[in-house]
Subunit: 205 residues, 2 copies
Amino acid sequence: MTQQIATNVHWHHGEITREDRNRLLNQKGATLWFTGLSGSGKSTIAVALESKLYEMGKISYRLDGDNIRLGINKNLGFSAEDRTENIRRIGEIAKLFVDTGVFALSSFISPYRADRDNVRKLHEDSGFRFVEIFVDCPLDEAEKRDPKGLYKKARAGEIKNFTGIDDPYEAPAKAEVHLVTSEMSLEEEVQTIIDYLENEGLLSA
Amino acid sequence: MTQQIATNVHWHHGEITREDRNRLLNQKGATLWFTGLSGSGKSTIAVALESKLYEMGKISYRLDGDNIRLGINKNLGFSAEDRTENIRRIGEIAKLFVDTGVFALSSFISPYRADRDNVRKLHEDSGFRFVEIFVDCPLDEAEKRDPKGLYKKARAGEIKNFTGIDDPYEAPAKAEVHLVTSEMSLEEEVQTIIDYLENEGLLSA
């Protein structure tokens, strides 16, 4: 029988590393963690950023309610415990993407500082880049937009524990990128993030 | 205030799709799901395949005990319920990688047919490729290798519910790739998988 555990075949030069993958993709994978109120524009910015990165030949992937809450986290509800587990799992998944060399664009309200800091620690303890992006939109403006009609329902008491209404939003103290939505166009917001990534050397390997 | 929801800026041409990402990476993302006994060679083959794909300029990522059991699934044990949840989560994560355009190489024993079929369904219902790779190594050979000394512990009763000893391994009935380890070298095993991917058109976009 041919020995299976052989490691001396010419093309098997050991395990491919994160640096190898970064080189292949010519970028340095990182988690871009959007946080902000419902209606602040997180997803809109993430979609536009994804498009911009794509035009630059960079690969990113958006983690959002559609592919997370309906997928891996479909067995989680909205209790405090489940919200924390929701963010923990998203953080762990984002980390796998960073390890792959991909930009993980996470757009969840993620209102609690402790949860976000846990995800940051999870990354930084492994030498992985975590970029917190604060989408800073005042409550009255987000509520005025109310793209999904959720504030209206929360005000009517049809949704409980809604961030900004009857549950707190804890703003980041020192986000890497701070987007003040009242002063910036979408294009400016995206460019601010791109500039950050460029300055940090993440757009090449 | 500048309207944030604007979608008519020139570079924002809507959401980037899975097909777009496949084009960027020049491959079609797919889950390559290795299944087989402990010691059958799943991880060895996955490592060698990853290396081969890398040399071909293709991006893949291995999901294994190190980055899953110690990460997102660290709150799961080895009860029947937790094993099923373990495989479900891995399947959901693999699906996100496929959506990104990456080859997800999953190497877990995954002994139960129902669990594997659930992951297959999860993929195929969304039009995602699921490639089951049966690493077919006889129990006596796997036990003779016993690279981690686990069979010895299982025989001594120190590990309970060990696949092949006191828990069943349900072999796939119709895996896309069937590797008979007693008849193939590691290089042949890898080449068999590469040939499959090539024939299925997954190595270009």
